[in-house]
Amino acid sequence: MSTASGANRVLERITRIPFGLNRMILLIVPAFFLVLIFFIGPYLYLLYMSFMSQAPAAPYESTPTLENYSIAIRDSFNWRVIRTTLQFGVLTTLITLVLAYPLAYHLARASSRVKGILLILVLSPLLVGIVIRSYGWMILLADTGLVNQALGVFGLGPYSLMYNQTGVMIALVHIYMPFMVLPLAGSLQNIDPDIEGASRSLGASPWTTFWRVTWPLSLPGVAAGSILVFVLTISAYVIPALLGGYNVMTLPLLVVQTVSQLFNWPLGSALAMVFFAITIAIIWLYMKFLNWMMRGLT
């Protein structure tokens, strides 16, 4: 015993980090450096670049300027793109929330055997690569695609379901659905069915029980799911590119175009920074709002 604890003490002394840091901190070191090098670093570099001038033969020229931000903010086209992008984000989030909620509720209350099967079905959109899946949607949604052919049998259509916002929306909702279902199911599963029973026995209808009890208690899941879906949607690139066919312009497409076709790295960086700031502000406000809604839960 004494030798073991002695060895422990030695080990403790060797591994103790100065400045009074706990050894547990070591656990986050790998992830910290990964984020620092591959996320924060590039972001800081983009920020730096956004204040530099455009150069003909290089990404940028080291002359500080506010020109890029001036262009990014004053061009109304950019604002239209940002609006479209945020519209996609909000709509996709709302539609997935409405579609996912009943599904998640069922999943949360299902027997464990059924739950396994349902989970696989819910996750199925993620089992195929994003490009392949988008081409799958193109086959279905094209003017002569499966959906329009089927509608044609009933004398309907053809509807234009692709290379427009409709097609992008359909694909976004499909692909980001699991990111809404899983957090929702998690928080719904934490609600004891007896709590809903208590509400009923106190005189609340199923509808009132939902709005007064189930919904508020599921808000942590709603928060997690909606933030995930919103962020993923507004940063989506492949889906708007393939299913929108560049008729639909979102900010990620615009940034890539600016950088890779106009070779204007500083302007692309500035656009990205402006959008980043807007996104952070929206999410911050949304979290504020949700925290106010959930004030009793924590």
């Binding site: 029973g197 208590a198 009923r200 026995s201 106190l202 609340a204 009132t208 208690l217 009793g296 839960l297």
Partner: protein, 383 residues
Amino acid sequence: MGSIDLKSLTKRFDDVVAVNNLNLELNDGELIALLGPSGCGKTTTLRMIAGFEMADEGTISIGERNVTTLAPEKRNAGMVFQNYALFPHLTVYENVAFGLEMRRVPKSEIHDRVMAILEKVQLGGLDARYPRQLSGGQQQRTALARALVINPEVLLLDEPLANLDAKLREEMRFYIRSLQQEFEITTVYVTHDQAEALVLADRIAVMMNGVIEQLGSPEEIYRRPQTPIVADFVGLTNLVPGVITEQDGERSLVETRAGVIRGMGPDSLLNGDTVLVSVRPETLRIEGVKGTAGLMGSEQHDGTGSAVNQLEGDVTERAFLGNLIDYRIDVGGGELFRVQAAPTPSYDVSERVNLTFPESEVWVVKDVGESISVDSLRGESGA
């Protein structure tokens, strides 16, 4: 306030019959305990009264109303759940006010009624707390207040004390009983704890396998069990198989492997019936055998001169329980008697002792072909 009337109630889950043709009538203001092991159908019965499960067959009436197919919110039944099921996102006040809001009671009246009932259950001043900030006992009383404030016709309690520690559980028994009597509210109390049922209930319905084995006052259930299962489930007892050799009204003479035992039994018993003799451990008197044979059998003899209700055996085990000593005594014939006696005088393992027990404390139950299950049960309870 209202009575409850359950008629031929049946509930199946897939092919399992949870409640089988159950009939039970509660008088206005009465507290009935549904007592039984888990899976006996007691909770399903309660949930059917509350409206959380729909009966497959039969009818449920509360007061004059047939509520068999009504939704829970239309039944006006106050329910307290085992885990209390308080709304975690609402304060104590909001929890208790919930049912009144649903009834569209004016705000000022809600305030008065909530505050009054919180005072009554000794939660005054805690109205702004959230459930997670309360102790188990306080949560329990919040749940009671929430169920009672709506002036329900009936109160339904599903193992309300199961999640409390032992000392608090004992206090709460009396508390719930006094609250129930103050409100004079018809109450169904589901429990697997026989001590709880004995303390609280006006009547106890012992349930097994979806049917009521016996319905009666706590004393009847404890002293006059009608079936071996009830005798075994309620309290500790020694069950000794035997055959009736003489039946005179309610007095029985039973031949057992341990000797002849005289006791009380229903007058429906007949000579030659196979029976189980139930002797409660606390009714046996234990004495040391001093080697003087003259002492033996000095108190009770039957007409023929051989000793009855007097057994001699060896202590095989003893356990100190504080206020009692729990002995196991081998009385021969393969019968092991459990005896609970005062700690003085004390007897040691392998000491030879005399056991005597009055005829009035021995109860004879007809062995209705359940001897196999009873034997196995007896192994557990006797051990």
